[in-house]
Symmetry: C2
């Protein structure tokens, strides 16, 4: 891990974003708990995600299916047979490894999609040995990453914990199509926990065994959607893309949306790349040079994905561009599979035609998104400050008395009591004012409001912006509205009158 | 099930609140999915719960620990050994039953806490036979309700899915005590899924195998907290309580808080009964005659709970008062158990004294809470209307054009586009206006806004209240603010000027 990883991890653990689960008992590899800052940050990220993606169409809705799924649909989806990684054991020291990771460490190239025979041949050819004891490795074997559950008192009903949220949306398609009054497209969003029994969850928080996904499955009519999406509005927009052949170079090129369509991507697909890019660059404020879509070629992508670009953010803590989500055109693979296996008709009638909807999946790893925001936001120079987007910051504002005497705490507490009914705002009077600003800077609080001696005479307080450290004065009675505007993005701190004058 | 259950269930399934999971494949007993109305209703309930209970103290925070837990802490907590129900098999038809439920059906009394030997003796004494085939039943056996997981490539690390969220809070206590700067009390709230392999999940949605809990664990200093809570402010308040000896009668008595303290309940405990009661009666608007706390006697409550009252709501669909949560004084049982088993010190220093904090747990079954709101809210008389609290309603407002012509749809859509940036509001122009009002009534939408011919001339629209069906006119430009006030509870529809005049 680069030392940058250690810096971000240290902040995360010290302040209460994310830390190892059950560390009281020596830890639990691949499992992490969100602390009192991580949990609200996550909930705020989810709110912004829901607003953005459900806002695309009134027919896109949040649902919440179960985490456990019976075996039959996961057989139909191919997960029971194919959701495997290649496991290699060292017969000498008993350590287990992922075959593709062993090969990647030696060759610095991706080795996804190999069969066991191919992997074994490569391992022999490259003379790869056990990284732990240097012993000769055993043969590769497919290992299913789903956690099985035995349901019922006799344990006879086999089930699994979902490895992604998508199947829950597919299983609900028919009911929702009816409840939402038989229109296409419909979108079913799911936010929740997923589980994968990763062979080696040793890459810190990047590969977790229990993790959080936010996914939107859009079911559409393939005959008409390309003409229905508002492509003209984004035709000239630049999309930051690395095609499969180029992505190892670690950069990207900006292509106009029309060029991507000319290269063969469907209009509906490019429209959604534009939406996702806006979410990252505009809503979350990711620097443009750190965002790209990275194409997966036929060998890398799942066989049912016709088009697949990963969403990647360049993070120094993880050594470069890393996947935090994906945009997947899954065709009719999923509904066809469930229609065949369940013998229930999933074809629907739209405008007098029978349609088996195709699916476009927008998939986001929430843990990876939050980590990326911590990585990009955390500055460890002279001032330790976490530049989180105001709408994502777990503590959007804090109220301080300048000193803990002379009536200032009482006045500050009164203001805080009033504010917290509208904005999650914290109160602090311990230590010097400088230390208190520093504490809030480190957890990403965008605005701090301070009650000082002048407050007692003229009813004004100071408001300090995290990034510029600039302070301005405003009337106490206008603080709530001002914070609402600043946090909601309808007003910019820089546009307020300069210090010295009162707003 | 009473027919009332069928009514509520039919609404739930038809409109998209809650329905059986994986029904495409013949269902999955004990598992239910939230549809496009249930999921946002749940999220809105959670927001109100968080605001209420985290609002009690700035040191009460939301965290989010993992669902899977390693075996060691669950051994320490007693779950591996004691989290069991008594399972009885019929050797003839192979059906499985819960021993206490079999006895309850015959005697109409609760039979919790029996040993296997006691249950077998009772079954013989009462001549209970298999309800399915009338065969003679086999012996009772303890059956652990936790779902085990085999973690890691060799499946050697035994873990379980949590049967409640509490342990995750206890495991995080030490880290959070540090991160929150070493003060007591601290409160750790967890909202999330729990799993229990129920022997017979046949009571509809009341006993689910995957379910949602919202729990707040308050860690406090037992030497000082009774004097620190604001008991005087609620001393005269009436608390609706059924003591263990009386609760089978199905009613309750209202006792002043001071009387409950005189009967031996700790002041801190009574204070929190008052808070919980306010949450139900004031915030959620449950009719007072349908709410009570029901005491569990020594035999019914877990051995580590010193005081335990269930939170109960009387629901016609479930045949009377049913548990939807509980208030549990767990003493130092949990931290002591983890301190002993982990050999890590959980005692903390507060005001120069060493303290092993005690725990007060406020526990809420989210699925059961949502069901109770559907049960109490759904009227099936002449008008089918779902009277949900405005803050919980999944669709807080809707916008309609009176007719789908004459420029009304365009004007209504423009208003809707503007509103939906601030409030989750739906749009509908299909069918007669009466049908559209009826559709929204049935999903609990508190306010509908209609654009009509007069809108085109004077810029006013009508706003209709769900419960009274009364309509008033107001200027289009004031709708957003008015909806915010009405939904936030800072303004009442009844206080607006009567129809005829424009607001």
């Amino acid at each position: 891990m680069p030392s940058r990883y250690e810096d971000v991890w240290s902040l995360s653990v010290r302040r209460g974003f994310l830390w190892p689960a059950a560390d009281l008992y020596g830890g639990f590899a691949g499992f992490y708990d969100y602390g009192h800052l991580g949990a609200p940050m996550k909930r705020r990220w989810e709110d912004v995600w829901l607003e953005t993606f459900l806002g695309l169409d009134e027919n896109y809705r949040l649902i919440d299916p179960t985490i456990a799924l019976p075996e039959a649909p996961l057989k139909a989806s191919g997960h029971v047979e194919h959701f495997t990684d290649l496991l290699v054991r060292c017969p000498k020291c008993k350590e287990t490894h992922r075959a593709d990771h062993l090969l990647e460490e030696v060759t610095h190239e991706a080795h996804e999609g190999l069969t066991a025979t191919e992997a074994d041949a490569k391992i022999r050819e490259l003379k790869v040995r056990c990284p732990k004891c240097k012993g000769e490795l055993g043969p590769s074997q497919p290992f299913n990453m789903m956690f099985p559950l035995a349901v019922g008192p006799l344990g006879t009903d086999r089930a699994y914990l979902r490895p992604e949220t998508a199947q829950g949306a597919y299983l609900n398609f028919r009911r929702e199509f009816e409840a939402l009054r038989r229109r296409l497209p419909i979108g079913l969003a799911v936010i929740g926990r997923c589980f994968r029994n990763e062979i080696s969850p040793r890459q810190g928080t990047y590969r977790m065994r229990e993790f959080l996904q936010a996914e939107l499955q859009i079911f559409f009519d393939p005959a008409t959607w390309n003409d229905a999406v508002p492509f003209d509005a984004i035709a000239a927009k630049g999309i930051q893309v690395a095609f499969a052949a180029d992505k190892a170079k670690g950069a990207f090129e900006t292509h106009a949306a029309t060029d991507l369509v000319a290269r063969g991507l469907p209009k509906f697909y490019v429209c959604h790349l534009a939406v996702v890019q806006d979410f990252y660059l505009r809503t979350l404020g990711i620097p443009p040079d750190r965002f790209r879509f990275a194409e997966l070629d036929e060998k890398e992508r799942a066989f049912y994905n016709k088009v697949h670009f990963d969403i990647e953010v360049k993070q120094d803590s993880l050594g470069g561009f890393k996947e935090i989500g994906g945009v997947h055109y899954r065709t009719d693979h999923d509904l066809l599979g469930h229609q065949t296996a369940s013998r229930e008709r999933l074809e629907v009638t739209v405008d007098g035609r029978k349609v088996l909807p195709h699916v476009l999946e927008l998939s986001f790893g929430i843990d990876r998104n939050l980590w990326a925001l911590l990585d990009l936001g955390y500055a460890t120079g002279e001032r330790q400050v976490l530049r989180l987007p105001p709408r994502i910051a777990p503590v959007p504002a804090a109220v301080f008395p300048l000193l803990s005497k002379a009536g200032l705490p009482e006045r500050a507490r009164a203001l805080w009591s009033d504010l917290r009914r509208r904005v999650p705002v914290s109160y602090d009077e311990a230590g010097s004012i400088g230390k208190r600003y520093a504490r809030m800077d480190e957890v990403g609080t965008p605005f701090c409001v301070t009650v000082d001696h002048q407050t007692l005479t003229d009813g004004t307080v100071t408001i300090r912006e995290r990034d510029s450290t600039e302070q301005k004065r405003l009337a106490e009675s206008t603080v709530a509205g001002m914070l609402g505007d600043l946090l909601g993005g309808t007003r910019r701190f820089a546009d307020l009158p300069a210090a010295g004058s009162t707003i």
